[in-house]
Symmetry: C2
């Protein structure tokens, strides 16, 4: 293990480098030169940071230039955004490939040029699943007599625009094993247990060894594979039903490249794991000294799985059965011996390869040991213009702006950490490994993690998932950003006017408290309890009911798509950069952290109401009681009221650095109380809502995952004890949150 | 769940009480009255605490009275200590009994009268094992023909002093199941695997169904039971070999009541669990809303087990075999049908009962959210004058002194928390449940936990187990305390001159970094990573080689024993009160925490040396490398040097509250890095050195438990992978500790 320049920490003093074994000499020369430079810069920065510190907490130094908020509003540049979006999305950036490494290096250079205190690349060797570019996966229909294929699926998606080179983008399902399987096809609809069970009643033959053909939707691809394995299938094919993907009403609309809708040649990529992070190092980082689990104990799919296009799904069944459209329950052979059968060939490569996170840092002046983190990923399944490069371009813009602010003397009070993650698509690996490696520091010092996976799934309104604690800070930021849609003054006005949810009846904008598990926030929020937010712009759900923008994870997620349809004139990117930047700036500079405890206690109360409703029948009949949770929630609510009353009532708060820090620490650490409570003791964490790679659940409730877990639990009477256990853990954690709002807070006598 | 008066927190503002269901009205009247009183006191205290806060960090207000250190030295009162020792040890204080509750109430009253800000009792319902006073356990020799007993073991220890009422103190082994077993006796020496295996070679019959008779020592009682179960025994009898208990050279010395040595009627009590805390709520507190595990999954001994005296062990074998002394390998019947057999009757009661911790609090003026905790237990197996009441009396003395200091205007900078634990003897239950309930707060706010289980196992020198971080603070405190032994000026001088370890070759006093698992510090230190210390006075090991003072856990652990032999003139109690009090005062008041990081990094380096030595052979042959640990340890050492250099180099440190807090936080949280590293992922924690109820291991090395675990692991070649995994976890944790000493510290590129 080698440790590089700890440049930021060196600002105040020298640091001894530990270099072991090879290459020491070469590094030492470089170290001397670079070290010298940093020493000089360090002295300067150190001087100013100490100066700021000496000036005491709570005061901002006077400045005649633009204040950071104004600077951010004014200086976001569409040219910058456009050029980065184009550059980043010029190639598919699969984690573990050359182009994947290239973009990490590009971002590192870009951020370094922006003038941050430090930019470094953090590499992990992780287990990746990659398509085999020279031997693409395929599905064939074989004439059993001749052995000849009478149908072959498309090896790549059709190139529909002159600049699209889809041969670079081999469709595959990540972590499907390689293999060749032959058999008869059974269309299992969405592949849910219910679908399969109901179908079984009409079947006259065994499903063992058949190839399941399933539509995307309702449950996660991983769950479809698990079901397929359970019922003895030998392989699984997945395809997007255009009626689901494009919306039921859009059957006759134009498709890409004439709209944002999916053409029948589109193939959707997904991963097939139910845990996040490197599958070889659960709970621990994939450092160079990591210990890998025995490959035989890896929890990977056992049968080959391959995504195909709608067109191929239709053609396949047509060839086999003469039927015009793929229909639930259709089988290619009822066991009486057809002349045709299906062959699935998967050539995926399973390999440990390096992935590269890029981390950029601006050291805080007064509270360097408090972190505001901003992150998103830079790996993509395909060109990834929407997902993730609309967001990665915006993040680079923000880095550029904060770099400029820094150069002009605006060092933030707290430390800013910018994170560009690799290998998010395979299993949220880059961020997870990094959080696992830095868990001690993050749990002690991170104030908030602000994520964007993509900027514009659509351009109708803002869509935000966030910790309740961050809700007011989000509102404050949105009020500062001009609306990109006419007739609305600010982004806040737009957001409030377009909640995109017909059941929404508040004057305030809608914030969903349910995170789901499909973003780089998951390790921060779920495992370490760091208050987090994730935002994007989205389409109007009333008009388009798809679970995501139609071309998500297809080869048509292009620069052309983004500019032409997803975000015309890059208005959302501009607004997003301002919103994200102002939010971060506020969290980094406000003496009193803009985290609102009462939002959290209200959210926990709402969770309790939902839980009560959910368990209604059992509360009456199964000797289950929520009394302890009810009491804890009331205590939490009371503690919150007291805290906020005291804060408002402390005129000396901002003048008293330790009192300020005490309040800030309570707020910063508050959500730590809720880590891991949806995991029963002794059980391992899995993606909780079962929809990795899918959109978040429609539920918006805080602790939705727990509600979900609890609900799942009640399905069998033997789980009553587990449910009781879970309820007692919930009560304990809520009570811990309540106690932590007092200066001392140690649990009192009953 | 109900929540009582949050009186301390109420100092600054009103607090809404949550009272549910019953008794609300009655409480409300009381609340109004008491609330009113607290309100007035609250205003006064609040005024002064705000005043102190406003005066800023780092400055002590001028005071013409005795400074706290001097006050503590001067005001420790032998009369106070004597009266409390006598009162506390006047009855056996078994957890879960009436006398056990009584002492908790006594201590609560006493502490309340001492003028703390708050004293409360914290009750948990936990699974206890108790002797049946009306049907004592016994061991008989039965004439198989007549069915009549020809020998019966003593039901109680012989009363050897007029004031001793040993009939109150029924010998038992905690958590042995009740049951009656008949069979033949086999003497298995210490009951180690080696002992049994070696004996098996000479045996001509099956061990199944035999009753094992084993001496205490070498391995824990629990391990003896496990071995007995493994080899098919139907019961286990334990006795103290006087040669072990009293020392090989003391066979002809006088015994109690004429000395501190064990008479042959002494019976030693132990518990038989290998995890700490309530066995029914692993990892979670036994709150009133706790969920209990299925009783069938409790990890309790399966065969009856009973401790007997040396006299009974001798007599038993004499009756059975005619042999004069109990000897290893002796069996009462070789299978050829003796006329006699042994009957073991255990009537232990396994029951959930309330236990009562007492918690007293003095709120810190400037940093109320930083805790210095002092603790010890108040439950005892017997009269418990030595263990624990010598310590519980001293703790009450310290509470009294800090109460007086508080009344005279000396409110400490940080919060002091005094803890008198119940149910330590059964399985360290009281402290464990409390730490489990308060884990969030403690992990975020506890600076140190300072424990004493007993004061004088002997009076030769001081014996200290501690986190290396606390070492210098311990030295500083010891230098302030006058020596209770002539020819030494201070306790430090005595301690340094009498390391009680012939291999010790330092000028400094000896501090053992290996905690073992037999104290109330275990949850604090092991599970939460709070820097901890445990101290007592002890006998001269060169002259007496017993693993503990001879009468430990016998009915002869009396007030008479303590004053007469263990601690003549209560000199150790006096010195202990001063030492503990001054240590706590320093931790509570020093602006810069007296935690020395370089002590910890040195200790970790020494651990690495020991680990390297331990694994020497494997490092050469099994593709195992310690390179990552070596690198991490060097990084830790470098980071420590830098930190201490910066601290010494920051003249403005004490004048800059946030900089001070930043350094303090790094130090306070440093040992959090080392929680749970000796538990492999997915495994549950058990007492690590296998010697609960025994003295700590002779090893003194930091992370000794890990070394021990790692060593155990290497016993089988199939465990190489586990060992590699453990090494990678150690590297990660040490590196995390190193990183946490920087302001930012996020792991850098390699």
């Amino acid at each position: 293990m080698m440790r590089g320049f700890d440049t930021i920490e060196s600002m105040n003093a020298d640091e001894v480098l530990v270099k072991r074994k090879r290459g020491t000499k070469r590094y030492m020369v470089a170290a001397a030169v670079i070290g010298g430079l940093f020493f000089i810069v360090g002295i300067m920065i150190g001087y100013f940071s100490h100066k700021a510190e000496a000036e005491g907490a709570g005061r901002q130094k006077p400045n005649k230039r633009l204040e950071p908020d104004e600077f951010i509003i004014e200086k976001v540049s569409k040219e910058f955004l456009d050029s980065k979006l184009r550059m980043f999305s010029s190639k598919p950036r699969l984690a573990g490939t050359k182009a994947g490494t290239e973009i990490a290096e590009t971002i590192k250079s870009l951020w370094s040029e922006s003038g941050l205190d430090e930019v470094h690349m953090k590499t992990y060797n992780v287990l990746l699943s990659l398509p085999n570019a020279s031997e693409p996966n395929m599905v064939e229909v074989i004439n059993k007599t001749t052995g000849e294929p009478v149908f072959t699926s498309q090896l790549y998606e059709a190139a529909l625009r002159p600049e699209d080179n889809t041969t670079l983008i081999v469709p595959f399902a990540a972590y499907s094993p390689a293999g060749i399987v032959e058999g008869n096809i059974v269309h299992v609809n969405y592949g849910t247990t219910e679908n399969i069970e109901s179908m079984l009643q009409n079947l006259t033959f065994d499903l063992t060894g058949t190839i399941f053909l399933a539509k995307y939707g309702q449950i996660s691809p991983k769950q479809k594979v698990q079901n397929a394995e359970l019922y003895g299938a030998s392989a699984l094919l997945l395809y997007p039903d255009l009626a689901d993907t494009n919306g039921r009403d859009n059957a006759n609309e134009k498709v890409y490249p004439d709209s944002w809708l999916m053409p029948d040649s589109g193939v959707r990529r997904e991963m097939l794991l139910d845990k996040y992070g490197d599958p070889d190092t659960p709970n621990y980082p994939s450092t160079e000294y990591a210990h890998y689990i025995n490959p035989e104990t890896r929890n990977l799919p056992k049968i080959p799985c391959q995504p195909i296009s709608y067109h191929d799904a239709v053609s396949l069944l047509e060839v086999l059965t003469g039927s015009a459209a793929p229909q639930y329950g259709v089988v290619s052979d009822n066991g009486n011996g057809s002349a045709l059968e299906v062959r699935v060939t998967v050539n995926n490569i399973l390999q440990r390869r390096p992935i590269h996170n890029v981390i950029g840092i601006i050291k805080g002046s007064i509270e360097p040991d408090r972190f505001i983190l901003l992150g998103g990923h830079h790996d993509s399944w395909t060109y990834g213009a929407v997902d993730p490069h609309s967001a990665s371009a915006v993040l680079s813009q923000i880095v550029h702006l904060f770099g400029q602010l820094l150069q002009s003397g605006h060092r933030p009070r707290r430390t800013l950490v910018f994170c560009s993650w690799d290998a998010k698509e395979p299993a949220i690996i880059g961020s997870t490994e990094w959080v696992e490696e830095n868990e001690k520091l993050l749990s002690e010092r991170a104030v908030a993690y602000l994520n964007a996976d993509l900027i514009a799934g659509g351009h109708f309104t803002l869509s935000v998932k966030a910790s309740p604690l961050l809700q007011d800070a989000l509102f404050t930021a949105a009020k500062r950003v001009p609306s990109h849609v006419e007739n609305y003054k600010t982004l806040y006005d737009l957001w409030a006017a377009r909640p995109n949810d017909e059941s929404w009846n508040s004057q305030e904008p809608k914030v969903s408290y349910a995170f789901g598990s499909d973003g780089d926030y998951v390790s921060f929020h779920e495992n370490v309890g760091i208050s987090s937010a994730d935002f994007s712009f989205t389409y109007e759900k009333k008009k388009f009911q798809g679970a995501n923008y139609p071309l998500h994870h297809t080869a048509y997620d292009t620069y052309y798509l983004y500019k032409q349809f997803q975000d015309p004139n890059l208005a959302c990117m501009e607004a997003g950069a301002r919103f994200w930047g102002i939010l971060a700036n506020n969290l980094a500079n406000a003496p009193l952290l803009p985290l609102r405890a009462s939002r959290l206690s209200s959210a926990v109360s709402a969770f309790l109401d939902a839980l009560t409703l959910e368990l209604q029948d059992m509360l009456d009949t199964d000797s289950i009681t929520l009394d302890a949770v009810i009491s804890a929630v009331r205590n939490f609510s009371d503690a919150t009221s007291k805290l906020e009353h005291d804060m408002n009532d402390s005129p000396e708060l901002t003048a008293n650095p330790l009192m300020l820090r005490r309040y800030n620490d309570k707020l910063m650490l508050l959500e730590r109380a809720f880590t891991h409570i949806n995991i029963l003791p002794g059980k391992e964490f899995v993606f909780r809502d079962g929809t990795p790679g899918q959109d978040v659940s429609p539920e918006d409730i805080y602790l939705y995952d727990i509600l979900n877990t609890v609900t799942d639990m009640t399905h069998g009477p033997e789980q009553i004890e587990q449910l009781k256990e879970q309820i007692s853990v919930i009560a304990l954690k809520v009570q811990s949150a309540a106690d932590s709002l007092y200066d001392i807070g140690l649990i009192k006598e009953k």
